[in-house]
Symmetry: C2
Subunit: 296 residues, 2 copies
């Protein structure tokens, strides 16, 4: 498989779960009608970004994977359209709660799951309140359309994640996301920083990235609000944006990729030949001094 | 120390060693006159980029550090101007040959050396012929102007290097470079890819980067030539280019940085709080399957 059209969707989310799922379905169908065989919806599209506040009732949004209505609908859709759909959900597993990606293959079967490893915590983004840190490690799946790696939102800031996905053979790296303004400080706008970081992962690993983000302004329970800045994008294998959405409009981005041409670039650049793994141990430390038990 | 003006120089190099050193001195003095206290000259400025060809005679360009005229001159200059100058040289150490950075402090003393870890090899860039792989590991020095990390040219493509330098506390990351056209394929232009990769390192680590590259067209021994594309640049802590040179002109870039403001951003973003070092072991493998002896 060499030619693959990929897609990212971008939309606002409200409190009607079925309506959100129906909107995703509409956008996924539009992407498929344009030839996309891998369609990435944004993070946690079944609800507003509830992490803006700390409210234990919101934990009941989490469902076991086999009871989640978005997963069921996307499985039907993937099988009907013969496409891959990575589905971002709030997962309940006994007393653990995860921010999980369910990889649905062209058959409609679930190939596996990835649980978000890096969990942010700051004003308006109280994810450590809602999610356990993921325990799956980083995942690349052999899907019906190629080897696809995925990570979730905050994971996208960490070069280690993209590198490990590339080492495991990812031909495309996906980042479903929910990011926008900082409710405590309206002067902060991380949009360009956010894009540059993922463009850098793409450039350094010679792998295209697909980022799907939400739009819309969502009000919190205590007078705060977040405006999600959209700006979903798709890069080529060198980190250049080849498709990019604006900050406000619902849309579907699609881009054709030549996976085999990119694989050839990954080899002939020599970056994966010249790595010095004998010198990287400090990366397993938090403080650069290599104190982590695993490395002693 | 919070405010620091940094500089990158950009120039062409010929076969007259003394003339190259004198030109660097002129540019360093210009940078210092504009307030720079950390000035980065480009990689291997004492000669044309001899790695375009494989010729054993060029190995005699390598000298022990204490016999290298560029190091001596830059030590005098650093002491006189009270600035830090990282000096890129071809180092001979008995039968080993290294691509080495000598970190000269504001006193004129040598703080330490870094030997280029990642050695490229491809048409026109035959560095594996000339250099041993570095054995120093990655270095951050407590200089008279702050904690400065440095890596050399090909190192700049590897996210592991920038990450480790940031983990070790680098306030600025330096990349002296010699990169340009690909003599076997004039359709390749890596300039934007090159900049995006380092901008990504800056963005992901919230550390400014300074890249210094050569200019000029250099002819090889067998009809080839390389046009070095300059485009030296300095980023802010979020990977945005705040100063950038063109592809053809000798110049000095300077930019003021607020190191303390950047340190605060590195903390309050939470990226160094949320790393999952328990999940990164595969980064020590070449093939993503974690087969490297060090990790077993």
């Amino acid at each position: 498989m060499s030619e693959l059209t990929v897609a990212a969707t971008q939309m606002a989310c409200g409190w009607d779960r079925e309506e959100n799922i129906a909107r995703v379905e509409k956008l996924v169908r539009e992407a498929a009608s344009r030839g996309a065989r891998l369609v990435l919806p944004q993070e946690l599209f079944e609800a507003p970004y509830f992490c803006q506040d700390q409210n234990p009732d919101f934990m009941y949004l989490a469902l076991p994977i086999d009871e989640n209505p978005a997963v069921k609908r996307m499985q039907q859709l993937a099988a009907e359209l013969k496409i891959v759909i990575p589905v971002s959900i709030y997962e309940r597993a006994n007393n653990a709660l995860y921010n999980t990606l369910v990889m649905v293959d062209v058959s409609g079967d679930i190939l596996g799951i990835y649980r978000k490893s890096h969990i942010p915590d700051g004003p308006g983004y109280s994810e450590k309140y809602y999610f356990n840190g993921g325990d799956t490690g980083f995942k690349v799946w052999e899907t019906g359309v190629g080897k696809i790696g995925a990570a979730i939102c905050w994971d996208q800031w960490f070069p280690e994640v993209a590198r490990i996905l590339a080492l495991k053979g990812a031909d495309v790296i996906l980042y479903p996301t929910a990011i926008g303004s900082e409710p405590h400080d309206p002067t902060i706008n991380s949009r360009d920083h956010w894009q540059r970081t993922m463009q850098g992962h793409s450039a350094a690993n010679i792998v295209p990235v697909v980022a799907s983000n939400r739009i819309g302004t969502e009000k919190g329970l205590h007078g705060t609000q977040i405006t999600f800045y959209g700006s979903s994008f798709i890069t080529d294998a060198f980190g250049a944006k080849i498709e990019a959405a604006n900050e406000t409009d619902e849309c579907v981005l699609t881009a054709p990729l030549d996976l085999e041409a990119n694989r050839k670039q990954r080899l002939n650049w020599g970056l994966f030949r010249d790595r010095r793994v004998d010198l990287y141990k400090d990366i397993l430390s938090l403080d650069g001094e290599n104190r982590h038990a695993a490395t002693r």
